[in-house]
Symmetry: C2
Subunit: 228 residues, 2 copies
């Protein structure tokens, strides 16, 4: 008979939680849910998973206590369980960024312009935005914007940026944001706008972190991204 010590039980429980985040698809699901509440089909489509597969992964996350589900009519809507879950993802990102060569290369390469321009802190943006000194630009897809966005932010998805430049006041400083520290959208938006002479900076992290910091979120229907 295998008798288990309390310590083993504890370590196994911790390992269960870790296992839940130890798969790329589940991490992607978590990033999605960090933007806001979503049904199974919505996240399945967005991540390219089959509905059944997404459902199973979501249930693993639910068993680990990382996401919670509620029934809403015929939909089951999932979302991050709490801020601790977001914290765990951010901490995971920190470790990976410091220690895993592949991540470091991505950050410094594809995510260009990492240095050269300090991101705007949440506190600074909040203040300057209240004073009407900046244009806040949300470059995520419209449905994520709908799930929730920074107060007063205008939404121009990255793909439409070039054709909608007229909507941006060239005289004001722009602060762009997207899903989180590993989201490429805002990096690319900054690069594109700078090339056209706009004064642009990135917000540190993204909407999930903004929300987790307890700062106000505007919503008329919806969400953001998350690692580190």
């Amino acid at each position: 008979m295998t008798s288990e010590t309390p310590k083993q039980v504890l370590l196994s429980a911790l390992a269960e939680v870790a296992k839940a985040i130890a798969h790329p698809h589940r991490l992607e699901l978590l990033e999605q849910l960090a933007q806001g509440e979503r049904g199974v089909e919505a996240v399945a489509e967005r991540t390219g998973l089959s509905v059944a597969n997404a459902s199973q992964h979501l249930q693993q996350l639910r068993r680990a206590g990382l996401v919670s589900a509620r029934r809403d009519g015929k939909f089951v809507r999932y979302r991050l369980a709490d801020d601790a879950a977001l914290d765990l993802l951010r901490t995971l990102g920190t470790v990976a960024e410091r220690n895993v060569a592949a991540v470091d290369r991505l950050i410094r390469g594809y995510f260009s312009e990492r240095d050269g321009h300090e991101p705007v802190t949440r506190e600074e943006l909040l203040e300057r935005s209240r004073l009407g000194l900046v244009t806040v630009l949300d470059v995520r897809p419209p449905d994520e914007y709908a799930l929730g966005h920074l107060p007063g932010a205008i939404n121009i998805p990255l793909l439409e940026l070039e054709s909608r430049l007229a909507e941006i006041d060239p005289a004001q400083e722009i602060v762009a944001y997207c899903r989180g520290p590993y989201c490429v959208l805002s990096y690319e938006a900054v690069a594109a706008l700078r090339a056209r002479g706009f004064s642009v900076r990135r917000l540190e992290d993204g909407l999930p972190e903004w929300r987790a910091a307890g700062l106000p979120v505007e919503t008329w229907a919806s969400g953001q991204s998350v690692f580190r």
Copy 2:
């Protein structure tokens, strides 16, 4: 040919780090290494793993950037790579404690006396200890004490506590600590000493957290514990 997007590469890299902490044995190894630097055989014996098995787990941790190794004569000594690794373990513990029923039961049950007495904060202990107002009691095994301990702490392993009560000044308040928030030693020491009329409290967390907070550690040879 499978072409991988940067996003997939990133998520896979994050998942690799998560996988490294997704096994009870590796978590136990990390808790050991959080106490201080150790050779392969030392952690193997202490965790009950075969040397070869421990070596392989340690290498997985090393690949994930969670621990670092250096050669020291004929030994290879492993230790936690950095404070980010400790942070990750603590965050994992937080999520598990909030969300996993088994952990919650352990905390409230076996780890008795969780409530009723607030733990002493590091800041409070540091101050009162400098003023000579408290006896700091390290109840970990002597070899972990040797790897490093709180300044001025006396070391009485839990098993020897009853026979060495005379070494403790009954007039002074005692603060006991051990490996970390999930270490039972200090809980049991507090219960035992209280039953004998001593005034005792626990230090919040344990030695790894103390060290990570940048507070002074005394050492004449050696270590502590880590989750949450």
